[in-house]
């Protein structure tokens, strides 16, 4: 009896599956699959995936890519490199996608890139990975030009930090940096940027968290008698190190990374000592296209796009699909990747980041022209490593929080970074 039941269920299932499959193939004569590997099982990951899906819907509404409807196959990474690689591999090998969107964490994106995308020559576009390890990989030619991301790296932060030092006329700077991936990365970048601007780094001292005392480290940093102090630290060890620094008679000219934008740090160090302390941070762009995105998002989802990486996810998906359109029907991953520069060309015809913009782009691209995508994070422009920069702000502590001192638009940041190289 039991056995019969089982086989009946199986038959039913097969029938339904066949029916579904049949109806699918009838209604959509032409479908292009793209893969998305995103952490949908975590609360902040789902909106990122939904935003990508929203872009796909708009593109389909405008007539799809190369006449075909786009189907985004979404796979969960669970923020786990192993799961992410499995998912990406399945998408590439079984579904035959030529484009992978994702992942979010650098630690997941990296193995997907090195063990799936690059060997299979599939283009990978991440919304949210910020590690400079990708830039390094690209510089070594190991990404084969298949890698892009719409999230700014630590490079923006360091460039603006160096700019603050230059603007305030500091000639010598000491660096205290957190002894982890992020801190070491930041230290490497800021040292390079200070050097490019002719500012001497008297010493760069690594700060390990949870040490019984930072006196020795601070004394080392103090020894070169620098005019200013650069802080690539988190609030916890930052508080201890800066209090030590000040009590030993170190300068109050300080430049802080965005990690120190913290109430605790301000209170525990004391606002009276932070008058000459300037912070840096990346900012959302203040351009019409960014406001348009917010409006569009609110219309569709009924709430503000307040989560992390939403604007970046929107642009990542849109640019990838634009590049796909530019590459034409049946294009392979490397062909799509090579078209990214055509759709983010600063000299190209400006297009908006919606269905109408995609339609307009289709015509221009078909005629062999280039377009300049104006998206949720501004006029996205990739450098040779597939990295983007971002607008930046310089801020300062006040008695109620922080206030903005200076806003650098994307163009200004780009120009400043270019001027240093």
């Amino acid at each position: 009896m039991k056995k019969e039941n089982g086989s009946f269920a199986l038959k039913l299932c097969v029938a339904i599956c066949l029916a579904l499959f049949a109806s699918n193939s009838v209604s959509q004569a032409c479908t292009t699959k793209v893969g998305a590997v995103l952490p949908t099982s975590v609360d902040w990951g789902r909106p990122i995936a939904e935003t990508a899906q929203f872009v796909v819907e708009q593109v389909n509404e405008s007539g799809g890519v190369s006449g075909c409807k786009i189907e985004m196959i979404l796979r969960d990474t669970q923020v786990d490199p192993k799961v992410g690689v499995d998912a990406a591999k399945a998408l590439v090998d079984l579904d035959g996608v030529q484009l992978l969107l994702g992942a979010v964490s650098s630690g997941v994106s990296m193995p997907i890139l090195t063990s799936v995308s690059v060997p299979s020559k599939v283009m990978q576009m991440s919304c949210c990975s910020s590690s400079t390890a990708f830039s390094k990989l690209a510089e070594d030619g190991k990404t084969k030009g298949l890698w892009y991301r719409t999230f700014a790296t630590t490079g923006v932060q360091s460039a603006v930090g160096a700019k603050v030092a230059k603007d305030r006329g500091f000639k010598t700077v000491a660096i205290l940096y957190k002894n982890d991936d992020w801190g070491q990365d930041l230290n490497r970048l800021i040292t390079r940027d200070f050097g490019a601007l002719g500012i001497k780094v008297t010493s760069a001292v690594a700060i390990n968290d949870g040490q019984p005392s930072y006196k020795a480290e601070v004394t080392n940093a103090l020894s070169g008698n620098p005019e200013a102090l650069y802080l690539g630290l988190y609030p916890n060890e930052g508080t201890a190190a800066v209090r030590e620094w000040l009590s030993l008679g170190g300068t109050q000219n300080m430049i802080m990374a965005n990690s120190l934008k913290s109430e605790d740090f301000r209170e525990n160090v004391g606002l009276q000592y932070l008058d000459n302390a300037f912070g840096t941070d990346t900012a959302s762009p203040r351009v019409a296209s960014a406001d348009e995105f917010v409006k569009l998002y609110k219309n569709h989802f009924g709430k503000e796009p307040s989560g992390p990486g939403l604007a970046n996810s929107y642009d990542a998906t849109m640019i990838a699909l634009l590049a796909m359109e530019a590459a034409g029907k049946g294009a392979t991953g490397d062909q799509i990747a090579s078209q990214v520069s055509r759709v983010t060309d600063p000299e190209g015809t400006p297009i908006t980041a919606d269905a109408a913009g995609f339609k307009a782009a289709r015509t221009i691209l078909a005629e062999g022209g280039n377009v300049m995508y104006q998206g949720a994070t501004g006029n996205v422009r990739f450098d040779k490593n597939g990295d983007v920069s971002a607008p930046a702000v310089v801020w300062k502590f006040t008695d109620t929080g922080t206030k903005e001192i200076e806003y650098l638009s994307l163009t200004e940041v780009d120009e400043f970074i270019a001027s240093m190289n």
Binding site: N179, V205, A206, I207, N208, D209, G210, Q211, P212, S213, Y214, K215, A216, E217, T219, N220, L222, S223, P235, N236, T239, A240, R243, L246, S247, L248, G249, D264, E267, N268, V269, G270, Y273
Partner: protein
């Protein structure tokens, strides 16, 4: 160089205070108590609570003593904290260690102490939050003795060092000159024999916990005073304190004192030749070196 020596002495005196309690517990109860450093956290936080309370209720006491960053309120709070921490050490023994001592073996005690450390650490985080706290927001500026070479000293450092030394002398006198001290040492040497000679074992163990807890509380307050207070004090200090204990030789008060200073000085002096990223490894290099040359530590004695 001289600056690093000075800094090493400060760190050393905090580690010494922690190590003395640990070495006594390890010697008399014969297990490596990984929750000992949590007593420093408890001490620091309890003092913080009382300090804030006294400052509000007795504003006069909120004034700093001389050029120290310490206030009378904090001194009083420290005394309360010493008592409270000593009592909580006894409580931990009653709740956890005594029960395991009766049934399990040494290794079970070690694991239990790991568990206890985690519970205490997270409870503190739950109650006080994970963010940094300070006894006083003011920054006490160091006295500059010389600009080149840079030589600065903080009075807090000198005070901490002096108080540590005074405490050491007191403990030494108690252990070597009083009946109470003899009984403690007897329990450490041989618990059964000590009992035969009329020593109350339970009471001796309690005394060890109270002394260890009290010293840890002082170390915690000094750490909070010269650094900052957060729930991770225990985690951050447990290994240096262990290093000091092992270097000094388990059971030796003087060894713990010296061990604390050796570890403190070495971590600081190492920065002259090593990049600062490697400084956390220095205490362990010292442990290895000492154990290779003197397996029982500098002042330790081999025992069965």
């Amino acid at each position: 160089m001289i600056q690093h020596l000075l800094d090493g002495i400060l760190v050393g005196s905090i580690l010494s205070l922690g190590a003395i309690g640990l070495t006594m517990v390890m010697h008399i109860l014969r297990f490596a108590n990984f929750s000992h450093a949590e007593l420093l956290s408890i001490g620091a936080y309890v003092a913080l609570v009382f300090d804030q309370m006294f400052k509000v209720t007795m504003p006069l006491m909120a004034n700093a003593i001389g050029s120290l960053s310490m206030t009378w309120a904090l001194v009083l709070a420290t005394i309360f904290s010493i008592v409270f921490t000593g009592v909580s050490a006894v409580l931990f023994d009653w709740l956890v260690f005594r029960r395991i001592r009766q049934k399990g073996e040494e290794l079970s005690m070690v694991f239990a102490s790991f568990g206890l450390a985690l519970i205490v650490r997270n409870l503190i985080g739950l109650i006080f939050g994970l963010n940094t706290k300070l006894y006083s927001q003011d920054i006490v500026f160091a006295t500059v003795l010389s600009r080149d070479p840079l030589l600065v000293v903080k009075l807090d450092q000198l005070a901490t060092f002096s108080i540590t030394l005074v405490l050491m002398v007191i403990i030494h006198i108690v252990l070597s000159r009083t009946t109470f001290g003899y009984s403690l040492r007897a329990v450490g040497e041989n618990p059964e024999l000590a009992q035969v000679n009329g020593i109350n074992l339970e009471r001796a163990i309690m005394a060890v916990w109270i002394i260890g807890g009290g010293l840890a509380a002082m170390a915690g307050v000094f750490y909070g005073l010269t650094n900052q207070i957060n729930p991770m004090i225990g985690r951050d200090l447990v290994l240096p304190v262990f290093a000091a204990t092992i270097v000094g030789g388990i059971g030796s008060i003087y060894g713990a004192l010296l061990g604390g200073f050796i570890v403190g000085l070495a971590s600081n002096l190492a920065l002259i030749i090593l990049p600062s990223g490697y400084s956390p490894s220095v205490p362990f290099i010292i442990i290895l070196a000492v154990l290779l040359i003197r397996p029982n530590g500098l002042f330790g004695e081999a025992r069965a």
